[in-house]
Symmetry: C2
């Protein structure tokens, strides 16, 4: 077996592990009667959404495939593009399919076997998604590398894989984000506030849609986001290594092919470490769930850092590159911990306290918290750039940053597992509530959910940091790819074209945030109208004798989300093409730079403000400052409602936006090199 | 009289015109009894704030002056710095001194002579500030140019003037912004909501502070902001012309000294056109106030564009440079009109309508409006960069952008007059209310105020656009100044140092926004406590028999503002030094680029969201969606309260922040050139 056969082989191995875990999940009983019915409604709702989303996506992808074929006059890039899109879509499908089976099994396990069993099922459910993301990435990208990697004329085609992954992420994340928040806001506003019935009450027609939304947004959406960064960072390293000068290669260890292979090797090692992490969680699960999840993540990272040393050494590469891995992994942890502080620590209590003077001060306080929260994560990113560039010779540019991003993302199997565990536990609680299974079941699932929330907050900060570094490396790869063909090509800020591009780039994060925020508002409004209609028109619904038309609410959320995801998607994909071919490669480079900085800052601001508002509300609900129903609580609910699209729709859309723009630019870079000045040049 | 004596001479002429207008204002009666007392309280409160602000500023400036002297080992730069600070401070002092005399005279004129007379006084009051800003700029900068301009060894010292102006602006704008909004929010929350008394009610101890705040924020603060951009754009052009290559100079008309003199010549012409504009307003004032202000501004701009053609031609410079002036002036108008749309058009009604589903939807809608509003202004800035760089030879870089900014700002005399007219009219209404002068007087002043609001919205957008372009030109000048001494110096985005700098730069706008937002909240809270205390402890206050302790509220707002302006001020001034000397000139350049884009985008977002919320509330108060006291109104008030610090504190702080960072960098550029890699290089 040659070296480059390992990644796809490990990808297959990972899928087998995922299948074994799936068999373990299936062993648990899936309930009967009402429980099974509710679970089936969620499962089929999620699958219907996915199928409809993927069919729109397929059309969009077809247009891009044809465009790429025409542009490149070769089948390599289009094939890579389709492969990337398929791999991401399959990972998302596997994750959703299994998560919506694990949820009800978690409920039943909580009811019959208690908390540790429930934790196991929920975590297994998340682990399948984690393994699917890591494995499909290795299988797909590793397979393409096996085919094209050693052939310099086709190596660039691999970039298409990233574009495919990013396109799927764009639709899954934006569409999923709109779906989940419109269902959530709609169900809450009419159910909790207007009709005065509890959350997840089976009489509320929007509740199934809300539970479907958790899967759509937090399983499939989050998975595609991480998948994209994971593959993007590897592709960037590949591309940067491919354009390195001989002197730089010599300084790094002397073999270009090994430098190109390194990201795949690290990710392969990371997959095995993730499996180790999953085992660790399983071992510690019976003792303390919160500790188990934390030991699992940190353990996997520590093992990975150790293993990475041997991987780097084994490929004959200087150990300074290994230090880049360490920088990335450590940076990811720091960003995660800062996120935890801002969305769970002192700032949250301050926001809750500011509720004493009404919703306006809650808003100001939350926005200020979000804005302030950018400082340490962005300083960390800057420090990673500084350290990795100081570690490597000057010609290596940001190869070290790319390797740092790979280091951050290599243990994606376990981090994604924990991310996906959250919605499974959340769903389990929803099912218990809807099936009226009693307070003690709900208590167990609430406990699992709470454990998941903290780790999920860390995961969110981590995802932003990883996406930012991945995008940065891709942008650098874009520049190097053009510079390799256009001598003297550089992106100087003092060049008016670059400056103009930077301003143009800044527009997109703000515009896409505005569009997605409005989309949630408008879609929620449609949902509100439908739920109100059902309460009015279906006889006996509120009394519990009539049955709500859940499917219709799912349908409305689906339609609303799918219709509104196209504009931001098209903007992200086509803007780099229009600017690149129209105003030239320098304007495009500047645009990527401006967009990168603004995307990272807005993503952090929105994610952390949203998380802080959410937890401030929960803090009040625990009885502080007057507790539920007080004026402070009402003020906190306003904050949470604004925070919902912030943290689950617009904020995450920023990660994707910058990666899509960057990878599309990298893919078209060889075409731009033919006429770098653009049509208006 | 030599050519370069004209600008200072015209500066003196402008001051004489300002004095004549002041005599005209003084001719109007200033009232007696209660009216005079209230006016005196506002006047002296404003003057006390200024003196205390200036004394803190003086200490800060002293430290910087000594630092500059030590750094440069010469008196030229420190002298220029002190001159710039003094000129800005004097302009602000003149404006505040006269505006707080014009306000009460407007009230009396409204009561005795009717609307046209009142408009005249209020506009005269604003015009003095307009003339003071334009004249002090020409006098100070023109004087320095006369002394240092033709001597290449000292020409760079002129940059110090801009740093002085920016330092004053920083404190005036940030301190003034915190003062005005803490007084406003504090007086409103306790007076209107808790005690249930009307706005500007004389029983409210915070009302005088609120009226002082209008002057402090919208006269002195806005004036120093515009002054800074006005001088900054001229200095940038000077610096860019000074570093041009012989070939570029030849392509532009062949004389470097004339290219350096051009911005001063344009500003001189602009001063005369502004006086013409003031006359136009006076002529049309009797007919229709709104039309008069608009014709005055547009008229002055049109005349200026025509005159500029001859100025450019007369200096022997290619007419393409004149087209840059046209681009700048036209761009300024477009940005202003877009601002008017977003803060007065359809989006405002949409926000008001979204109040039907509560404060959360008002927040989301307003934030989305603010974020969306960046699109056209930023596209306009990009178009100006594109057009001006296409018009001039490649080596000219962004000299054209700088000239465009000068073109935008040359008629500052009239635009500033209209900006300062607003708070004078607003104050006049406040005085009428406090002195209980009857509904008909209040109606006239409300009418004047409303006219001012629309033009002020345009002015705000205009100020952001101008500040952005000025900063951009200063940043370019910074790069060229270093490149002239360090061969091969360039700021490539692919350079990790530059990238790191871009991320660092993005931090500041977010952090300063967070700090200033919180500052308003905390200062308002102190104000609230004091007003509550007075209502409780002063016998008969609410019944109208006791007298409020106004001075104490003014004192609290003053202290709070002054204490909280220091941290953001120090951040803005010292960050470029720390990064520049520590991480090197490339990191600093990247930082300026990242900060520029983020500052412009956040400034637009916050100013327009704030303006839109303000007007949405007013729209509801006019009887729409239930009118005053309805739930929609309550939701709209929440939006307005969040919008207050957005549009009057944090948003405007962005203009200053980027200009301070840019000008400090330009000033230290010659020192950085000695060790461009920095200490950690």
């Amino acid at each position: 077996m040659t070296q480059s056969m390992w990644p796809p082989a490990l990808g297959v191995f990972g899928l087998i592990v995922a299948f074994i875990i799936y068999r373990l999940v299936r062993r648990y009983p899936s309930g009967e009667g009402a429980v099974a019915e509710i679970a089936e409604a969620i499962h089929s709702g999620a699958m219907v959404f996915m199928r409809r989303e993927y069919s729109i996506l397929a059309m969009f992808a077809l247009v891009l495939t044809v465009g790429l074929f025409i542009g490149f006059q070769s089948w390599h890039t289009p094939v890579a593009f389709v492969t990337g899109a398929l791999c991401s879509a399959i990972a998302g499908y596997i994750g959703m399919y299994t998560a919506t089976q694990a949820n009800v099994r978690t409920t039943i396990a909580a009811a019959t076997d208690g908390a540790p069993a429930a934790l196991s099922v929920a975590f297994y459910g998340g682990s399948i998604m984690g393994m699917a993301v890591a494995s499909m990435g290795l299988l797909g990208l590793g397979g393409l590398y096996l085919m094209f990697g050693s052939d310099p004329t086709h190596a660039e085609a691999i970039h298409g894989f990233g574009m495919g992954a990013s396109t799927v992420a764009l639709f899954s994340r934006v569409g999923g984000g709109i779906f989940t928040k419109s269902a959530d806001v709609g169900a809450d506003l009419v159910g909790k506030i207007e009709a005065g019935i509890p959350e997840d009450d089976p009489r509320n027609p929007g509740v199934i849609a809300d539970n479907v939304g958790d899967n759509v947004g937090d399983v499939a959406g989050m998975g595609s986001d991480i998948f994209e960064s994971y593959c993007g960072s590897m592709i960037a390293c590949l591309a940067l290594a491919a354009t390195m000068s001989g002197a730089t290669i010599a300084a790094l260890g002397g073999d270009q092919q090994q430098l190109m292979f390194l990201p795949l090797a690290l990710a392969s090692a990371g997959l095995l470490c993730s499996i180790a992490g999953i085992v660790i969680v399983k071992v510690f699960a019976a003792k303390a769930p919160a500790v188990a999840l934390r030991i699992g993540t940190i353990g996997a990272t520590v093992i990975f850092i150790a293993v990475a040393y041997f991987v780097v050494a084994n490929l004959g590469i200087t150990s300074n590159v290994w230090w880049c891995v360490v920088c990335g992994a450590a940076g990811g942890m720091i960003i995660g911990l800062v996120t935890e502080y801002y969305t769970g620590g002192e700032p949250v209590r301050k926001i809750a306290k500011d509720g004493e003077t009404g919703p306006a001060t809650v808003m100001i306080s939350g926005l200020a918290t979000g804005m302030e929260s950018v400082v340490v994560p962005v300083l960390t990113i800057a420090a990673i750039i500084f350290a990795t560039s100081a570690l490597l010779p000057e010609g290596a540019g940001v190869y070290g940053v790319g390797i740092g991003a790979v280091g951050m993302l290599a243990t994606v199997g376990i981090t994604m597992a924990i991310d996906a565990y959250g919605p499974v536990a959340d769903n389990a609680g929803g099912i218990a509530e809807m099936a009226e299974m009693g307070a003690e079941v709900r208590e167990i699932t609430d406990g699992l959910d709470e454990v998941g929330n903290t780790t999920a907050a860390i995961g969110k900060g981590f995802a932003i940091g990883a996406a930012g570094l991945a995008a940065l490396a891709i942008i650098a790869a874009f520049i190097e790819t053009i510079a390799a063909k256009v001598p003297g090509f550089t992106l100087s800020i003092e060049n008016p074209r670059v400056l103009m591009g930077m301003f143009l780039g800044g527009i997109f994060p703000f515009l896409v945030s505005a569009i997605t925020m409005r989309a949630v508002g408008d879609a929620a409004f449609e949902m509100i109208k439908e739920i109100r209609r059902q309460f009015k028109e279906i006889p006996g619904l509120l009394e519990g004798t009539g049955k709500p038309d859940n499917a219709r609410c799912v349908d409305i959320a689906t339609r609303a989300a799918l219709r509104r995801m196209v504009l931001p998607g098209a903007l992200a994909v086509f803007a780099p093409m229009v600017v690149g071919f129209g105003l030239g490669a320098q304007a495009l480079g500047g645009m990527l730079g401006g967009a990168l900085v603004c995307c990272v800052l807005l993503a952090l601001t929105m994610a952390n403000a949203g998380g802080a508002w959410d937890n401030a509300k929960k803090f009040v609900e625990k009885g502080n400052f007057g507790g539920k129903g007080s004026d402070v609580h009402k003020a906190a609910v306003v904050g949470d409602t604004v925070g919902d699209p912030f943290k689950d729709t617009s904020g995450p859309a920023m990660n994707i936006l910058i990666n899509v723009m960057a990878i599309v630019s990298l893919v078209i870079a060889p075409l731009l090199a033919a006429n770098p000045g653009g049509l208006l040049g």
